[in-house]
């Protein structure tokens, strides 16, 4: 009897419509939020292009390679060349330093660490990622910079001075070299935590198979873990690079500034991001503002390319591994 009533109630057209109304409205509200996120990304791209328009129409693509930044009225001329150079040299060197360290940390956490040490070390490495960049920068300019200038730079100069990278030590401790070390510290935790997850995802039967063939642990890593996670490691490195490209504050604090290209990493310089951040107190003309936004546009393009390519790699790798894993089973 009661069940009949329920069925009746459920069949009442009004209730049916109300049920659908609730479903539809939640779906619409939540869907609108998802659409808003997508629009937001489009809006970011559009606003940055719009802000740079004056400089784009004034200089065109020549802006990208020109080495000049002169805001003096009447002699105004702007270009991104030296900042591109600074960005490239700082992030690439940082990546070269951070990659082997990160691989070591990830291998330690996934293969070597005793069980009781694993969780705390993982947490500490991720904590390093949580330290704000302004604090790293403060430490970089007041502690790390002077220390590097006093000990490391003079030593590198006297030992490797014949390589143009290692010129005379910097006078102030604020140099591209300090920026490289700071960026290394900032991308190390990102690359290592992604790599750790990749290494943990390598199937145990593959690893154990290699060990059963009589390999040492390192040979197993070299022959199984690295090849299996090759694509993922590439993606992790690209993401680290993207982070290094875009870091503004810490780099602004330690890099010293300057508009010129020189090979010595012990001199000052600027990256795209640090130049923008250093100019926050305002510009004298509209053209200067637009040129700063143009720098942001170049940075945005870099970070979009880096991010999307890293994701495409991850997706491709996931698909391929899905298939091989199916093959194993």
């Amino acid at each position: 009897m009661t069940s009949l009533d329920l069925t009746d109630a459920a069949r009442r057209p009004f209730t049916g419509r109300r049920v659908r109304f609730g479903d539809v409205s939640l779906q619409v509200v939540a869907g609108a939020a998802a659409a808003a996120v997508t629009i937001l990304v489009g809006l970011i791209v559009w606003k940055v292009i719009e802000g740079a328009r004056l400089s784009i129409s004034h200089y065109g693509l020549a802006f990208v390679t020109r080495i000049a930044w002169n805001p003096v009225l009447g002699h105004e001329i702007y270009g991104a060349g030296s900042f591109l150079f600074g960005t490239a040299i700082t992030s690439l060197f940082a990546l070269v330093l951070a990659a082997p360290l990160a691989m070591g940390v990830a291998l330690f956490l996934s293969e070597l660490s005793p069980g009781w040490l694993r969780a705390p070390v993982t947490a500490l490495v991720e904590t390093l990622a949580a330290v704000p960049s302004v604090v790293i920068g403060l430490w970089g300019i007041l502690v790390l910079g002077p220390a590097l200038r006093g000990h490391i730079e003079s030593w590198l100069h006297s030992a490797f001075g014949f390589i143009p990278f290692f010129g005379d030590p910097s006078p102030a401790g604020a140099s591209i070299f300090t920026a490289i070390i700071v960026l290394t510290i900032m991308i190390l935790p990102i690359v290592s935590s992604i790599s750790r997850e990749l290494f943990l995802g390598v199937p145990h039967d593959l690893k154990e198979g290699a060990l059963a063939l009589g390999t040492t642990r390192w040979e197993m890593v070299k022959g199984v873990v690295f090849p299996y996670s090759r694509g993922g490691i590439a993606a992790a490195l690209i993401l680290g690079l993207g982070r290094a490209l875009g870091e503004a504050i810490a780099v602004t604090q330690v890099i010293g500034g300057g508009v010129f290209i020189h090979w010595s990493i012990f001199d000052g310089g600027d990256t795209l991001a640090s130049k923008i951040a250093a100019s926050y107190q305002g510009s004298s003309t509209n053209l200067q503002t637009a040129s700063l936004v143009y720098l942001a546009l170049i940075l945005l393009v870099f970070s979009l390319v880096a991010n999307i390519s890293a994701q495409l790699i991850v997706r491709r790798v996931a698909r391929r591994h899905g298939i091989t894993r199916g093959g194993h089973a």
């Binding site: 049920v19 609108a32 996120v37 997508t38 940055v48 802000g51 500490l124 904590t127 604090v135 936004v293």
Partner: protein, 297 residues
Amino acid sequence: MSAQGLTGPGLRVDRLPRRRRVNRAMELLAWLAAAIAIAILAIVVYSVARRGASELNLNLLTKDPIPFSFGNQPQGLANAFVGTLVIVGIAILMALPVGILVAIYLNEFAPAAIRNGVSMVLDVLNGVPAIVIGIFVYGLIVVGHGQSAIAGSFALACLMLPLVARATMEVLALVPNALREAGLGLGIPRWRTTLSIVVPQTVGGIVTGTVLAVARVAGETAPLLFTTSFVGTQTHWDPHHALQSVPVAIFELSESADPQDHARAWAAALVLLIFILIASLGARWVATRSRAKMAAR
């Protein structure tokens, strides 16, 4: 593919001592790398703590900075701490509802193609450099309306949004399908099943994710430089004005040549660091514990 490294003369038994030595060396290097990573953290935290502790007192939190002071007048950064509180608070109000709704849509309603597409958009947003977000909000809001704490909050919300949405999606994916089916099987409409059965299961995860996101953006300087940095030295609560914030204050003090300013920068950095370390380590600890509990069930 993966077997290539395992063939050839490299694995000869008569080379075993040498192979073992190589292995030993590599293991040592990995230990060393982990030790270096931890040493860096320890050195940074120690430097901040040692230099910041001497200057850390109640005046820092309760007194406003005095411009151009001579002598040992008490100078605090109360305006910065209040500003950060307001800016981050409004950012949470902006990012949290949208982030949760996005996650609900993607995990509960969206077809696979849209889910993949929008997740990728979230990742792209997460990868946009903070300074570019600052420039974006500068062009969107500041150019017409001037700097304000709300503009800064919006910039921080752009950074928080993908973090909150990702974290929520991860916990939503952990809710067993049996719960959804049970709800629908009882004749409860889908929206009520989602809102009052599925989402309440994930509150813990959402809180953890939000705390981690707050810990991440509370220390962000770059988005605030162009949106809320032209400030006076007095404490304000009104978000329609530009408010000072702790990271921007540290940034400005660190660029100064005055050692007294450096001392205050260290003290503010120490407060910020303590907050961020407690928040992120605490959230992580709660997350691991609740995950272990879930696994035990």
